[in-house]
Amino acid sequence: MADLVFHPDEVKVVSRRFGLGATNIDRYVELDGYKAVQKALAMEPDAIIAEVKNSGLRGRGGAGFSTGMKWSFVPKQSAKPKYVLCNGDESEPGTCKDRLIFEHDPHSVIEGVMIGALAVGAKSGYIYIRGEYRYLSIIMQKAIRDAYAKGFVGKNIFGSGRDLDIYWHGGAGAYEVGEESALMESLEGKRGIPRIRPPFPAVVGLWGGPTVINNAETLANVPHIILGGADWFAKLGTPKNGGTRLFCLSGNIAKPGVYELPMGYNLRKMIYDVGGGIPNGRELKAVVPGGASCPCLTADEIDVAMDFDSVQKAGSMLGSGGVVVVDDAQCIVKFALRTMKFYQHESCGWCIPCREGTDWLKKTLIRFHAGGGVKKDIDNMQYLAENMLGRTFCPLGDAAAMPTIAFVKKFRKEFEEHLEGRPCPFEKENAAEPVLA
């Protein structure tokens, strides 16, 4: 389906089996599949957690929290069953990496969930895949069936006397559900509205039981860590940022695609060497380094190592690995408007700062982009966005506010060029009017 790309700087860990037919369970086994879970079965749960902790693996969904640490928060004893939940509700604009994992290597996700379950003492794991990814749900359901047929999953796995069930679950279109507590609500058959924390899912999660929730790419890394060792994995990246990352290059770039590069890879090199630079003789204007919720970097800010800590130091976030490249033919006001339109559409409406803030910002940006803006709007937008920060139950409010603040701060001049009824300086002839549902 989706085309694969290659670059010599790539270090293939998660994408090692892409294009090799590993959806077939026998082929997966040939390619060292289900070896890691057997190794993990012979390990103490604490040893598995220590290995993952030492590997420096951090959440690939966006937050970048230490996976081993997350697992260690699950209580050893629990009256209620424990669960592992794989988050495959990939919907952060700019992100299309989990899709490739499900398409090419579904068993690696199953194996990752299994190892996570062994580590925390869970007997069931759920793999949640967004509703739009129907063909991937079909691939995953077959992979699970095949794993049951081989006896890798189910009763007495690998003759260990332990039982472990893996199930698939499907969404039906909601970005918000990618947030971990909303994900659990959705899996329980409800509206995907976030839960108040504490208690955190590690203590009270799915159906009230302790639950570990990890992104699909995070879990797909786990078998490789168990087989290759924490040291090997940690050394692939930068300090405290173990391994590699599937970077989804998109936007105004010559060779878009999903590339697996070591953590800490230089962003300039990523855009100009790996991605082939900006096409059509255009210049770089801005980059959104980790999906739509991450503050943009300007063309002068791209000498940054793409790991969680370095990008944060540069004032943005590594996020979900969606690198959206924007050239100088694009209007930042329009870009900010489209970003806000998305968050307004996806806000679940529970928290007032998010529900009202996104709507107000969207309306202001529409009016502003159409030439109806006044100077005060610029400060107002920034002020309003800043006041959304940290005032909502889940990070969607922050996700909407952060990019807006960066657009206004870094491209103020471009906002000013839209004032006094002037037409958008970037508007193409006969440009399409946005539908703005």
Binding site: D3, S250, V258
Partner: protein
């Protein structure tokens, strides 16, 4: 209310996967919608009774998820992404092109019932933008010409 055998097998298999019946709701709704075309009053009543929920509880969930609909759609739901990665590569122009070609706007259906057009949020095809989904099929690296060919192809299968 009768669903296909395939639906029934899937439903029977899915429900025991969860400690509460209700948990099967979202995927069940989507599978029912795929079969019937939309979530009619009858479908809602049937699923509510199967999962021990009130119809209101089911409707409450339906209204949250963007893929679920209580209104009939065309045979082919053309969903064009205009989110950031697609927008900078012509996603909005592509949507306008489809609107012109099909003679309908956002969430409208052609009089022959073949096509519904929808502007959608990110569908996870960012590196292959601009992209669209027709029902569940992804179509990527689109141009107006390519889109024309794709729509013609669907029209052909739809009128056969």
């Amino acid at each position: 209310m009768k669903f296909s055998e395939e639906f029934e097998t899937r439903f029977a298999e899915m429900v025991p996967h969860y400690p509460t019946k209700r948990s099967a709701l979202v995927p069940t709704l989507l599978y029912a919608q795929d079969e019937i075309g939309f979530l009619s009053d009858e479908v809602i009543a049937e699923i509510a009774s199967r999962l021990d929920l009130t119809e209101l509880e089911v409707r409450n969930v339906i209204s949250y998820y963007s893929m679920l609909t209580t209104k009939p759609r065309g045979k082919f739901n053309v969903q064009v992404c205009t989110n950031i990665s697609c927008m900078v590569r012509g996603g909005e122009e592509l949507l306008q092109h489809c609107a012109k070609k099909l003679g309908i706007g956002h969430k409208q259906t052609t009089p022959d019932g073949l096509f519904t057009l929808e502007e959608v949020e990110c569908i996870g095809a960012c590196s292959w933008a601009p992209a669209a989904q027709v029902n569940y099929d992804f179509h990527e690296n689109l141009t107006a010409e390519k889109m024309d060919r794709i729509l013609d192809e669907y029209r052909k299968t739809g009128t056969q």
